[in-house]
Amino acid sequence: MKINQKKQNEIELFELDGELDFHTSPELRDKFQEVFQKQLRKVVVNLKKVSYIDSSGLATFVEALQKIKRYNGKLVLTDLVPAVRSVFEIAKLDKVFSLANTEVEALQLVAQ
């Protein structure tokens, strides 16, 4: 799993590449710790290059959403491939998360 992190205006943008599973999700969780510590309020994660996500990946996003919401921040996930979106849907988390179709839309959502 490759994790590219960059700042765009005031938005923290993560681009993930690879499979998000039991082996790789702890690495993403580590990256998110920095977001929580600095209380970064606008976070976008682009999942365009994530072909597979398991429950640990899902749980990593749930934990991130819980912690970011605690200080009134926003987390938006974007560009989910159908297989990944299905995992969110079956866990009924597609209504819990802000899911955008494009990065432009995600950046708008998080900036609101």
Partner: protein, 268 residues
């Protein structure tokens, strides 16, 4: 042998004898990946024995059992445990640990097989319990919930590690029609949305035809017929018709013939 990539399980010439009696008598079977295969048959047809072979609890007398590219027929226990991580199992009696809470039962495979932190495991447990309609039951003990709920907890545990394949042994047994139908819906959702392969052993016709992409009918340790639910329902095979209609009289005799009975009585 190379496995057809469309199949997650291939069984070739499987024979199991207990003493001289062949319980499985030359089974050839393919289980397609990401689909729901229902194995049906009357009591004693060998369906549970077949399931026990696939999950490695029994070793065949003859034949090959290929799972995800590996022949598990002669596999050592250590290697079999690695293969078993790819699949979840829903036992007929649920098999929950009575001394553990519902949440701890679901968390067990995650604690045993991963290094995930507790915070993440707790979230996964909540998601799995929501999937089976048991949100908020984490702290309940198994004795405090109904049989149907126990079955759902067992299903949450079976899918805790996101297996490629889930085996269900009589999933609707002992459940009320609504709960049984809900379990069927879950099996259906897991297969369709997550591409999990489901292998269901049952003799409940309604449930089988509701969920099956492929139906396999076993009779006397052999594969009698394979097809879609529609094909099986319209089968011309008198054994199949008698079985699916549940008729006491027909091609499958309930009692032996008078001659066979007499012969048996006179045998010393």
């Amino acid at each position: 042998m190379s496995l057809n990539p469309e199949n997650i399980v291939e069984i070739k010439g499987l024979v199991k004898r207990f003493d001289d009696r062949a319980v499985l008598d030359g089974i050839d079977l393919e289980i397609p990946a990401g689909k729901t295969t229902v194995i049906m048959g009357g009591s004693g047809c060998g369906k549970s024995t077949l399931l026990r072979h696939i999950i490695g609890l029994l070793k065949p007398t003859e034949g090959e059992i290929w799972i995800d590219g590996e022949n598990v027929a002669g596999m050592k226990e250590k290697d079999m445990n690695r293969v078993r991580r790819k699949f979840g199992m829903l036992f007929q009696g649920s098999a929950l640990f009575n001394s553990m809470t519902v949440g701890d039962n679901v968390a067990l495979p995650l604690r045993e097989h991963t290094d995930l932190p507790n915070e993440i495991i707790r979230i996964i447990v909540k998601v799995k319990l929501e999937l089976v309609g048991l949100t908020g039951f984490e702290s309940f003990m198994p004795y405090q919930i109904s049989g149907g709920m126990k079955k759902r907890v067992a299903l949450a545990r079976a899918i805790a590690l996101d297996p490629k394949m889930v085996f269900y042994d009589e999933p609707g047994a002992g459940l009320d029609p609504i709960t049984a139908s809900m379990i069927d819906q879950l099996i259906h959702d897991l297969s369709r949305k997550l591409k999990i392969t489901s292998v269901v052993v049952t003799h409940e016709m309604k449930s089988a035809f509701r969920i099956a992409d492929k139906v396999v009918i076993l009779h006397k340790g052999k594969v009698l017929e394979v097809g879609t639910a529609h094909e099986i329902q319209n089968s011309k095979n008198p054994y199949v018709q008698q079985f699916i209609k549940g008729e006491p009289e027909g091609a499958i005799p309930f009692y032996q013939t008078s001659d066979a009975y007499l012969k048996g009585l006179l045998e010393t």
